[in-house]
Symmetry: C2
Subunit: 414 residues, 2 copies
C-alpha cells in the first residue's frame, strides 16, 4: 500500500497546486468514469475541481508496462479492477507524481468537472449487502420484532449479509421511481400500490478487484482485493419489505434501485482513517478473528441531507464488523470472487439519535416525524424529496479525504 502519512506538497504550478480544494487533494485521487460533452466515456481521476484522463496520463508517462496501459484503456474501472494490486499501486504512484509535478501540468488531459458527465464507475458483478452496524440492527429489531430480543442469536458470531440486485445499482443523480408492491394492511389482505414507506439507507460500499476463484480470502489478504470505496444509498420500501421478507429476506423492497457515488476512493487514500473496531462480545471463528490484526475499522463520517436539511451524521467508526471481516466471511464457504464484485456495509447508524442512517430509525417507523427546513414534517420520503449523502475521512497531516456525494430524487410511481 502507498502510505501517505505525510501531507503531499505539490510543486507550485502543478495541477494539485493550481486546483487546490479541501478533500480532493493529491492524497485522495478518486476515480470515476467520465466523458467531456459529446465524447466517449473514459477513466478519470479527480484533483480539486478537475478531472484528469487516466489513459492520457499513462501515455504521457511513456514508461509503463503494457499491463498498466491496457488496464486503463476502457470506459471505466473494469480493466483496472481486473489488473490487481501491484498495478493499482503503480498507477497511483504515477498519478500522484504527475499531479504534484509542475513539469507535467501542461501535458495532462485536464477537464473542469462542470464540463463532463459522470457514469457508473464500474460494472457490478455480484452485490452483497451486509448488516454490520449493531446500533442499526438493534433499532430495526426493536421496531420490527418488538416481542423478541433485538439482535438475533447469530448476530455477534458472523456479519449477516445477503445478495442484492446488481442490475439496479445506479449512479448518483439517477431519479428514483417510487416502487409499487404488496403492502401489509392493519386488517385483512395486503393491498397493491405505491410504497407508503419509502426510505433511505446510508451505507459505505466496497469495490472488489483481482480474482479469488476458490474463495476463502483470509483477513490479512483482504487488502489485496478491496480496491476502493463509494457511498451507497440503499433505497428501501419498508412496507413492501415488511410483508415479503420472512423467511427468505428482503427482495422487492430493495431491488428497485441502489444508488452509489460516482467517485471510487482508493483504499490507499484511507490509510490515515484506520481505527480499532469495537470490542468483540463473542469468541470469533479464526477466519473472523481480527484480535491480533492491525486496526481494520475505518473512521468515515457520513452526513445525510434531505431537501437540503442535514438530518443525520452516521459514524462508520461505530460499525461492529469491519470491511475485511465482511469479505473474509462472504468467501469462507468457497464462493469465488470476481473483479467488479461489490459489497456494502448495511445501514450505518451510531448510538446517538442524530446518528441513525435510515428514516425508519430517525422517525422510529413514523412515530417521531422529522421537521424539515420549510417547517414541514416528514416520516418517510415524499415524491420530490431529494436525498444527499456525503462523507469525509481523515487524511495525512490534518487534511481530509472527501467522498463524492450520492444524490437521488424521488419521482412518483408510474
Amino acid at each position: 500500500m502507498i502510505t501517505t502519512d505525510v501531507q503531499l506538497r505539490p510543486q507550485p504550478g502543478s495541477v494539485a497546486d493550481l486546483n487546490a480544494q479541501p478533500g480532493f487533494g493529491a492524497e485522495n485521487l478518486p476515480y470515476a468514469s467520465f466523458a467531456p460533452y459529446g465524447e466517449d466515456p473514459r477513466l478519470g481521476v479527480r484533483i480539486g475541481n478537475k478531472i484528469l484522463g487516466v489513459a492520457a496520463a499513462v501515455e504521457y508517462d511513456g514508461r509503463r508496462s503494457q499491463a498498466l496501459v491496457n488496464a486503463v484503456l476502457g470506459q471505466n474501472l473494469d480493466g483496472l479492477l481486473k489488473a490487481g494490486r501491484p498495478i493499482w499501486d503503480e498507477l497511483r504512484a504515477m498519478l500522484t507524481q504527475q499531479v504534484t509535478s509542475a513539469e507535467a501540468a501542461s501535458s495532462l488531459e485536464v477537464h473542469d468537472l462542470r464540463d463532463v458527465s459522470l457514469f457508473m464507475p464500474f460494472t457490478v458483478a455480484d452485490y452483497v449487502d451486509f448488516y454490520a452496524s449493531e446500533h442499526h440492527a438493534t433499532n430495526v429489531g426493536r421496531i420490527f420484532r418488538p416481542d423478541q430480543r433485538p439482535l438475533t442469536t447469530n448476530w455477534k458470531y458472523l456479519p449477516i449479509g445477503y445478495h442484492g440486485r446488481s442490475g439496479t445499482i445506479v449512479a448518483s443523480g439517477t431519479e428514483i421511481v417510487r416502487p409499487k408492491g404488496l403492502r401489509p394492511e392493519p386488517k385483512g389482505s395486503p393491498t397493491f400500490g405505491p410504497s407508503r414507506k419509502l426510505d433511505i439507507e446510508a451505507e459505505v460500499g466496497f469495490v472488489i478487484g483481482g480474482a479469488a476463484p476458490q474463495g476463502e480470502v483470509k483477513l490479512a489478504d483482504t487488502e489485496n482485493h478491496i480496491f476502493g470505496t463509494v457511498l451507497v444509498n440503499d433505497w428501501s420500501a419498508r412496507d413492501i419489505q415488511a410483508f415479503e421478507y420472512v423467511p427468505l429476506g428482503p427482495f422487492l423492497g430493495k431491488s428497485f434501485a441502489t444508488s452509489i457515488s460516482p467517485w471510487v476512493v482508493p483504499m490507499a487514500a484511507l490509510s490515515c482513517a484506520s481505527i480499532e473496531p469495537p470490542t468483540r462480545d463473542a469468541d470469533l471463528a479464526e477466519y473472523l478473528d481480527d484480535g491480533s490484526a492491525r486496526a481494520s475499522g475505518l473512521d468515515i463520517s457520513l452526513e445525510i441531507s434531505i431537501n437540503n436539511k442535514l438530518v443525520s451524521r452516521p459514524p462508520f467508526a461505530s460499525m461492529y464488523w469491519t470491511p475485511a471481516q465482511m469479505l473474509a466471511h462472504m468467501t469462507v464457504n468457497g464462493a469465488s470472487l470476481r473483479p467488479g464484485d461489490f459489497f456494502a456495509s448495511g445501514t450505518v447508524s451510531g448510538p446517538g439519535r442524530d446518528q441513525r442512517g435510515s428514516l425508519l430509525e430517525l422517525t422510529w417507523n413514523g412515530r417521531d416525524p422529522l421537521t424539515l427546513t420549510d417547517g414541514g414534517k416528514m416520516c418517510f420520503l415524499e415524491d420530490g424529496a431529494e436525498v444527499v449523502i456525503r462523507a469525509t475521512a481523515p487524511g495525512p497531516s490534518g487534511t481530509s479525504i472527501c467522498f463524492g456525494e450520492v444524490a437521488g430524487r424521488i419521482v412518483p410511481a408510474t
Copy 2:
C-alpha cells in the same frame, strides 16, 4: 411462438432422421455452448446425439439479416438473448427446417457429442431463486419452524424469492467442494468446519432475454422475455443456512455453488407442456392474477438420482406459482431486466414422499435415512456422492422433450 403441435417429419437422410433419439428430436433443439477438441467455444444446437454449429448454419442459409448473423457469432447464448423474441423465432424456424431437410444435411457443421466439450451456456446477470412449491415450503416450515404455521402469511399472496450469487453458477459436471462455515450446535456456541448437512435442491431455471429497463413485465408479456429453461441443482448447506438465515435470508448456505444443465431448452419447445396451475387460495393482485390467462404452468417431470439410484420424481406440474408469475413479480417494483438474468423456481416437491426435491425433505432432516443401491444409508451428501437430475416434458404427438442432465459430485472440503 412456433407451435409444434404436430410431430415434425424429418426427410429421409436429414440430420434429424439420421440421428433420431427420443427426447432430442427436431421438436426440441436445445442450445449449448460447445467446442470441438482444441477449438474455440461457439453456440450449438442439439439434434439426437449430434450438435450443430449455429453460426455455420446461419451462414449456410445465406439469407438471414445481419441482426441474426451477429446474434449467433459469440461463444454462447449471450448474443441471442440480447437479440429478442423475433430473432429467436426466426432462428428456430430456420434450424428446424435445416435439420429436417435432406438437402442441408451434408452442408451443416455437425459434431458427435462425444467429441465436444460443453460450457456455461450464457453469462448470468442477476440470479433470483424462488420458493414456488407449496409442498416444499410446507415441508421446510414443518422442519425448521415446528412451532409455527408451516406457510408464512405472505406465501399465497406473492411468490417469495431472493437474490442468489451469479458468480458461482456453474455448468453441470463441475465438482462441488464441500463448503465450510459456522454450524449451530445443540448446546453452546456455533463451531466452524465443513458442512455436515450438504443437500441438493432440484429446480427448474429460466433464462431471460430481451431487456425491460423499466421493469413491470406484465404476465402476458413474460413470454417475450423467457427464452428457455435449464435444470438446476441449488446445492445447500442446511446447517450453515439454519444458523445464518434469520433475518435476511440464505447466504453462505447457498452461495458456494449452483449447478445448471448445459442445454437450454427453448420455451418454444415446451408448447405441449402447458398446463393449468393449481387453484388459487387467495385473491391475487392484478399483476399476479392469471385466472383468465391461458395455462401457464409447465408439465415437466424431474428425476433425482444419487449414486445411480433413483431417489425422487418431483413433478413441476405441482408448482403453485408459475414462471410467468415469478417474472411479473420480480419486476413489478420497477426492477430492470437484463439479457442473461436468470431465475429458478425453488425446490420442486410434489405431494408424495417420493416426489420431494431435497434430502432435507426426503430424509426429514436426517430422521429417515435413504437406502442407497449398495445398501448404505444416507441422510445428507457424503464426499464422493454423485447427484444427477434429469427431466422430460411432453412434446407434440406423443414425443418427449428431454432436458440435458445436471450432474455434480461432492469433493472434500479444502
